[in-house]
């Protein structure tokens, strides 16, 4: 049994609740126990470093310090954006102890930063710590027949000197995992193009344009669905898809799965636990390709409960 410090990230209780819950299903199968960082706070996302320098370090710093209270050496992060802020902070602090000391003054109560916890995205954790082979072994319901375009976005593999994971231009980790699940990863050249990220709300037209291109390329590559490991990418590609279709006058209906959803599915979890109904773009079409699966349960749990449940954890 493995243990892993876990940073859910704000969206885990909102837009990407399905990411969070399916992740837990997957880790159960992989026999990994998550330990949430007690009383974690937002990483500051893009806004913090856009507006100010110190806060952008301070917010993640608090979580890093809190994480050091747990004895695990690795912190797994679901949200790509949280992952990057956390990792950037860690790298910069480790490089520059002076800066670390200065930033630490903002969170003295929590403790002093020692930099002993490594930060990994869940994708990285699956790929490096679990391993594609182990994943393949756990597969009970092969996804053979499903063609997916693996979309990594900006933050999982860039900048190279920070993440130092996979290739910044043409990463393959997620593709390999999907292949392990039985699905076919298409040759998709927009793997790491930006989806518009934080402009989702403040500058929607950009998002519509960029995400639109990505959808188009995914279709081009002959994929039935897109697979992501980032809540923001998911909501941009999924929630905004109808708008994009309206704007471009094209019909894509390409569902956008979280890698964990597909893993959970392949690991044989009952489909009604996979939160497919949360998708704006219906998934049935795509899933039809992997042959017969148990019908999707209609009833969706009230998310509000989930929130309370989550934030009270431990």
């Amino acid at each position: 049994m493995k243990k892993l410090t876990y940073f859910p990230g704000c969206s885990a209780h909102g837009t990407s609740e399905e990411f969070d819950s399916t992740l837990k299903l997957v880790l159960k199968t992989l026999d990994v126990v998550l330990e949430d960082i007690p009383d974690w706070n937002c990483c500051g996302a893009t806004s913090a470093h856009v507006m100010t320098e110190n806060l952008a370090y301070a917010l993640p710093m608090r979580n890093l310090v809190l994480a050091e209270k747990l004895e695990n050496t690795t912190m797994g992060i679901a949200c790509a954006s949280c992952y990057q802020r956390m990792k950037v902070t860690k790298v910069h602090m480790d490089e520059n102890p002076e800066l670390a000391k200065r930033i630490n003054t903002t969170v003295v109560e929590e403790g002093t930063y020692q930099g002993k916890v490594d930060v990994k995205s869940m994708l990285q954790y699956f790929y490096e710590d679990i391993g594609v082979e182990t994943i393949r072994e756990k597969v009970t319901k092969s996804l053979a027949g499903l063609k997916v375009a693996c979309y990594y976005g900006c933050l999982l593999t860039r900048p190279k000197n920070i993440t130092n994971f996979d290739s910044p231009e043409y990463p393959v980790s997620m593709d390999q995992i999907c292949e392990a699940l039985g699905a076919t990863a298409t040759e998709f050249d927009y793997k790491t193009e930006c989806c518009g990220a934080s402009f989702s709300i403040s500058n929607t037209e950009v998002v519509l344009n960029l995400s639109g291109q990505i959808l188009a390329m995914a279709k081009e590559s002959g994929a039935h669905a897109i697979v992501v490991a980032c809540p923001l990418c998911q909501s941009n590609l999924d929630m905004r898809q109808p708008d994009i279709e309206k704007q471009q006058g094209v019909k894509y209906d390409i569902p956008v799965f979280y890698i964990t959803q597909l893993m959970a599915l392949a690991f044989g979890n009952p489909i009604d636990q996979l939160k497919f109904p949360k998708h704006i773009v219906p998934v049935e079409g795509a899933l039809a390709n992997i042959g017969k699966i148990e019908p999707v349960a209609e009833k969706v749990k009230k998310p509000i409960k989930a929130v309370e449940a989550e934030s009270e954890v431990k």
Partner: protein, 657 residues
């Protein structure tokens, strides 16, 4: 008792205005060894030298001091004057009273004069300790080794051989010709590379003074300038060149297919092969890696079909040794591998090729008979995008420097494309067009006008697939817009990089190389063809990227250097080298360690006169010694001395003030 003559020069007004020359003369006359002292307007002039000659004879002088300008200026002149008077030229000392006194103390005549006196005293004192020295003559082996059979090596070999100096030309591949043999046409004149190269290749093969050793490499080099010994490994070709007629029956019948290096792997060759039709020597070799007879002991077809029975599967590598006097290194360059350009999809997209692959395609004797084709589907491309500076000027993914030839060969490629596919259109992504060279800019202009090529100023950032097209995205900085070109074929102008085994070669030759792996010249401006090691010269791209004309000129320059080196039967050498007194030498070998030239080796001498027992002493090879004096200063037992700068000489100078 020494008899010194001192000659003080006015140097017109240069010295006389600021130094009281007559007073200096009076002063030196007070030194008892000085038997003759006189001043004159211009010592370096003929009458001046005449005075020296006469005085030597008349006063039986044993050493001469000329107080004038810097020895770096006229030492040679005055030395000649001495030898003309039948005196050993190394008995001369020059007191530098111009650069070191009159010119730098113009405000204080008294001080300048006193200093001049001191300088004269020092020179006199030193000259008293001077000894007769005689130019060292080192025997020379008049044979040159040329490493590399590309255009550089070919040119150097021919030029040297034409001077009736034997040349050993070593080429690692089965045929000479190098990269140039792979080219179709050459810029800026567009004459066919084959047509101008192959005659030279044939000349090499038939030249009475050239020994061509193909399919071989240099293993080891020993000795020093004029007297090197080289070990060459001749790889087993499994074909007896003496009996082989080059009929080609063997490779026609050979069943094993291997990617063809000559055509950049676009088509296949056989396991027994001649690299290309015009190869020199035009004899096949067996590729031991792939030949099933040599690997598995099956097949043997070539032996069966070979009428003269030239095939010999038992053949072994042989070691050839030669004595040579000089080396020309011409190992050329490698094409840089663009794999790091992931954003271009290099390796994923078949229809992205390198410039040399394109060169082979458009070449008449190439794999596609001169018509460019898409590797993916064999279609003839209409829209071709050329991307410059792939690897060049890119610290992140490639190399810092500019490869120098890409701008021009890309221009050439646009023309060739235009010739071969009339309805094609070329797009060139560039950062700068560097067309410095005779007729180059004109060539570029002509190409742009004639072919109507679209030039886009910017680095390509991404290539992705759309249907069977490649979408090439870059900024055109001219209009400040991002443009995407729908391409059938993309040609990468990949960088020129140093041969990957240059460092190893440099080590075994004992020369230095830079951070890129290019071999280093002795001086970036004034000695661009010599290396720091005497008798080893550089030709072509092995020293830095260059185009064919430059390469050829450097090769000829090497030839000139070699001929100069071999001009006499022996090499004259400055006698100011270190000498060892075995009586004092304790054999500690510190000198061996400090000598930058490896000129000092150990030797065994009898402990005492006629005794059998031996002891170790240091031995200096005066042929190699350059006379720096490191060994003299390091020697504890003062067994070593540097002729011309002996301890007595310098100490005399010091104490004479």
């Amino acid at each position: 008792m020494a008899r010194v003559g001192v000659f003080v020069c006015f140097c017109g007004a240069n010295i006389a205005d600021y130094v009281d020359v007559p007073q200096v003369v009076e002063e030196v006359k007070r030194i008892k060894e000085v038997k003759y002292a006189i001043e004159y307007k211009y010592m370096c002039s003929d009458p001046g030298q005449g005075m020296i000659r006469d005085a030597i004879v008349q006063y039986k002088l044993t050493s001469i001091v000329v107080a004038a300008c810097s020895p770096r200026m006229h030492e040679k002149t005055f030395r000649k004057a001495l030898s003309d008077a039948g005196m050993n030229p190394y008995l001369l000392e020059v007191a530098n009273i111009r650069e070191h006194s009159s010119w730098v103390h113009q405000k204080d005549k008294k001080a300048a004069t006193e200093k001049a006196m001191d300088l004269c005293r020092m020179a006199v004192a030193k000259s008293i300790a001077n000894e007769q020295l005689h130019e060292i003559s080192v025997p020379v082996t008049k044979r040159a080794l040329v490493i590399g059979g590309g255009i550089a090596g070919i040119q150097a070999a021919l030029d040297i051989a034409d001077a009736r100096i034997p040349v050993v030309l070593v080429e690692k591949s089965p045929s000479i010709g190098g990269k140039m043999a792979q080219l179709d046409e050459t810029f800026p004149t567009l004459d066919c590379a084959q047509c101008i190269l192959t005659p030279k290749m044939v000349d090499v093969a038939s030249h009475p003074y050239i020994e061509l050793i193909p399919y071989a490499e240099v293993l080891e080099l020993q000795g020093f300038v004029g007297n090197y010994k080289v070990k060459i490994k001749k790889k087993a070709s499994y074909v007896n060149f003496k009996t082989c007629t080059g009929c080609g029956a063997c490779w026609q019948k050979c069943p094993v297919k291997v990617p063809n290096e000559y055509n950049m792997g676009i088509d296949k060759r056989k396991a027994i092969y001649t690299p290309f039709p015009q190869a020199v020597p035009n004899k096949p070799v067996i590729d031991a890696e792939h030949c099933t007879m040599l690997t598995k002991g099956k097949c043997g077809i070539c032996a069966k079909v070979c009428l003269p029975g030239a095939i010999d599967y038992k053949m072994q590598d042989e070691i050839i040794e030669r004595e040579i006097g000089a080396v020309v290194v011409a190992t050329g360059y490698d094409m840089w591998d663009p794999a790091p350009y992931e954003e271009y999809g290099v390796g994923r997209f078949k229809d992205i090729i390198t410039s040399l692959e394109f060169e082979r395609m458009v070449s008449a004797n190439g794999p596609t008979n001169g018509v460019p084709q898409r590797p993916s589907d064999g279609k003839v491309p209409k829209n071709v995008v050329f991307i410059k500076c792939v690897g060049s000027r890119d610290e992140a993914k490639g190399i810092e420097y500019c490869s120098k030839i890409c701008c021009m060969y890309t221009t050439k490629h646009t023309i060739l494309l235009h010739h071969k596919v009339h309805d094609s259109h070329a797009y060139v992504f560039y950062m700068d067009i560097r067309a410095a060279g005779k007729g180059y800019e004109e060539f570029v202009k002509k190409a742009q006008v004639d072919t109507g090529t679209t030039y886009l100023r910017g680095r390509v950032s991404k290539i992705y697939k759309k249907g069977d097209k490649l979408m090439v995205r870059g900024e055109d900085a001219q209009i400040g817009q991002v443009v995407e070109v729908e391409a059938d074929l993309v040609v990468l102008a990949t960088a020129v990089s140093a041969p990957k085994d240059n460092p190893e070669l440099a080590r075994l030759l004992g020369i230095s190389y830079d951070k890129y792996g290019y071999l280093s010249e002795a001086h970036p401006k004034l000695r661009p063809v010599e290396t720091a090691k005497a008798g080893i010269f550089l030709a072509g791209c092995t020293q830095a990227p260059k185009d064919i004309p430059e390469t050829v000129s450097q090769a000829s320059a090497c030839a000139a250097k070699v001929c100069g080196l071999f001009a006499g039967d022996t090499m004259k050498k400055d006698p100011m080298v270190s000498t060892i007194n075995n009586e004092y030498c304790s054999g500690c070998q510190n000198c061996v360690k400090v000598c930058p030239y490896g000129a000092i080796v150990t030797d065994e001498v009898p402990i005492g006169h006629g005794s059998k027992e031996l002891r170790t002493v240091a031995k200096i090879n005066e042929g190699v010694c350059q006379g720096c004096g490191s060994c003299v200063a390091i020697c504890r037992s003062m067994a070593i001395n540097l002729a011309g700068f002996t301890d007595p000489q310098i100490i005399n100078e010091i104490v004479s003030i």
